[in-house]
């Protein structure tokens, strides 16, 4: 199936979908699909290019496993993916839309916590005085662990959060790491981003599977989407 078509994966809903549609429009690429709900489509004038609508995380997996040749998704998800997947994908272009930051947020009431050095000290306070680990809610375990490690923060426990991470400090964690675009949600949930607390600056990106990148047709598509 893969040999017959060039598969482009795009996000099926949300901000990234709108951004991708705008990009395609700008490049005069019209996606044709059977209905609005259909998750498969073709590009007008390019019968060999198949457009597959997917979840943004799934796009990274699909590129890593070679199901798709080219895809548009978030840089955060690519960087968070397992090394075995990440190493099989090339980042071709970072767009200036779909922007958000993965940040470290602590309760506003932690007045003594302003930067990573403070956080490191507080994590030891939990460990030494309370005999427990500081709990960190996140959807981004790998990126969080990497950042914590670079800041000398070792005494913590990561709690998986699947959604509504911003209020998890109220009931299951002490602090959190989460994506923030405007910062509004952070403030509204009585949180603050610590100084030097940006783990990753993310935006929508064009990716290609390394196994496909040298193919003539793929190069053409990449040129179309990056010109």
């Amino acid at each position: 199936m893969k040999n017959k078509f060039i598969n482009i994966a795009v996000v099926s809903k949300g901000r990234l979908k709108i951004g991708t549609e705008n990009l395609f429009k700008k490049k005069k690429l019209k996606i044709l699909s059977k209905s609005e709900r259909s998750l498969l489509g073709f590009i007008k004038g390019y019968p060999s290019i198949r457009v597959m609508y997917m979840n943004s995380k799934e796009i990274i997996e699909a590129l890593g496993t070679g199901v798709c040749d080219v895809g548009i998704s978030g840089k955060d998800l690519w960087r968070e993916s397992e090394p075995s997947i990440q190493s099989k994908i090339s980042l071709i272009r970072e767009y200036d839309w779909g922007k958000s930051n993965l940040v470290v947020a602590v309760p506003v009431s932690w007045w003594d916590c302003g930067n990573p050095t403070d956080l490191e000290e507080i994590s030891f306070e939990f460990f030494n005085k309370k005999k427990q680990l500081m709990r960190v809610a996140t959807k981004f375990k790998n990126l969080t662990r990497e950042w914590f490690s670079s800041k000398g923060i070792t005494q913590y426990e990561l709690i998986t959060s699947l959604g509504a991470t911003e209020n998890s400090h109220e009931y299951k964690s002490h602090i959190l790491t989460d994506l923030s675009s405007s910062g509004k949600s952070i403030i509204e949930n009585n949180l603050k981003v610590i100084e030097q607390g940006i783990i990753l600056k993310s935006s929508a990106c064009l990716f290609a599977a390394k196994s496909s990148i040298k193919k003539k047709e793929i190069k053409k598509i990449i040129k179309l989407l990056t010109a």
Partner: protein, 347 residues
């Protein structure tokens, strides 16, 4: 194989009892020892009761847990051999580490037991084909004492001691210390105003796992009790210079005392502090090195390694040291411990 059998003979003849260690350990014990960051190196899984287990990442942790579970009392000497399983950031590293370990728990005489562990390690070296080796000895307590004597905020002292074993981050910390870059005066000024409003509230009120008192106490220590000091640059230089000290073990007390005197630190180290006092132990050069023992966070006193050369590269055949606080940190009574591990992968 031949040399491994002779290692076992040495350990038996020295009175170490052979024990079998569990292959899997409850992950919480490992995380308690090494923190959540260590999870990235573990091979872990859940059982039917949702308890998380890990393949043992090193044999020391298994041994300590066995010591606690067996409720051992009094001086205990044992040895074990087997594989440990740990992921690595270095692609070429094997995830399987073959080791022989030996330990003495609940020392009556710490210096004597330190000597015994080092002497046994040297005897093991003698059973291998390595003709040239160097025995490096250090002591983390000397570094801790030095830091305690420096004129700098207590929280900085604690931080520097805490990160002795994380060399990369440790160097970043020194940089921060020398530039005083952990406090932003603009933010501190703003926060001071806000904090004053909180002082009248119930000190036991909880904010995400911390009481208001804990938050305010730390705020005060950080912003009032620990003035920013111009002498921090000098302190950083002293620490960096200390790590450059490497000399024959016989000269170590003299060199260290001269270093303390030069830096106006009221410290004195006697030769009794060192478990080995001769420069030569069975034709092995003995060196005092201030910069060793930085690979495991649980070392707390004497540390040593036996360095050999394989194809021109330095390798460590034996690594060991004292970890007196580890057993207590895992929730058992305060018990001293000293031990070493032979890296069987490089034989």
């Amino acid at each position: 194989m031949k040399s491994r059998n002779s290692f076992n003979q040495i350990l038996k003849s020295k009175g170490f009892k052979n024990i079998e260690l569990d292959n899997i350990i409850e992950s919480r014990h490992i995380l308690k020892r090494s923190g959540g960051n260590f999870r990235q190196y573990l091979f872990s899984f859940y059982d039917q009761n949702f308890t998380e287990w890990s393949l043992r990442p090193d044999l020391t942790i298994s041994s300590v847990i066995k010591f606690i579970q067996d409720k051992k009392k009094g001086r205990t000497k044992w040895w074990y051999s087997g594989e440990a399983y740990r992921k690595s950031n270095i692609k070429s590293n094997s995830v399987v580490k073959k080791q022989t370990g030996f330990e003495i728990y609940a020392s009556n005489n710490k210096n004597k037991d330190d000597q015994e562990i080092i002497q046994t390690s040297v005897n093991i070296l003698k059973k291998t084909n390595f003709k040239k080796a160097q025995l490096n000895i250090g002591n983390i307590q000397i570094f801790y004492t030095l830091v305690n004597k420096l004129d700098m905020p207590i929280r900085w002292k604690e931080r520097i001691k805490r990160h002795f074993s994380r060399e990369f981050y440790f160097n970043q910390l020194l940089k921060k210390l020398s530039t005083n870059s952990d406090i932003n005066p603009v933010i501190v000024k703003r926060d001071k105003r806000e904090v004053e409003k909180l002082r009248k509230q119930d000190p036991n009120k909880m904010f995400s796992g911390r009481t208001l008192k804990e938050i305010l106490d730390r705020f005060d220590v950080k912003n009032y009790s620990d003035p920013r000091s111009e002498s921090n640059k000098k302190n950083v230089k002293i620490i960096k210079d200390y790590f450059k000290i490497s000399c024959s073990i016989e000269k170590a007390p003299k060199v260290l005392n001269e270093f303390f005197k030069k830096n106006n630190l009221n410290l004195f180290i006697s030769s009794d502090y060192f478990p080995i006092k001769k420069n030569n132990l069975k034709n092995i050069k003995v060196i005092f090195s201030s910069n060793i023992g930085r690979t495991a966070e649980y070392y707390s006193g004497m540390v040593f390694n036996i360095q050999i050369k394989i194809k021109g590269k330095n390798k460590f055949l034996v690594v060991g040291g004292r970890y007196d606080s580890l057993i207590k940190n895992l929730g058992y009574k305060n018990t001293t411990a000293v031990g070493a591990a032979v890296d069987l992968n490089i034989l």
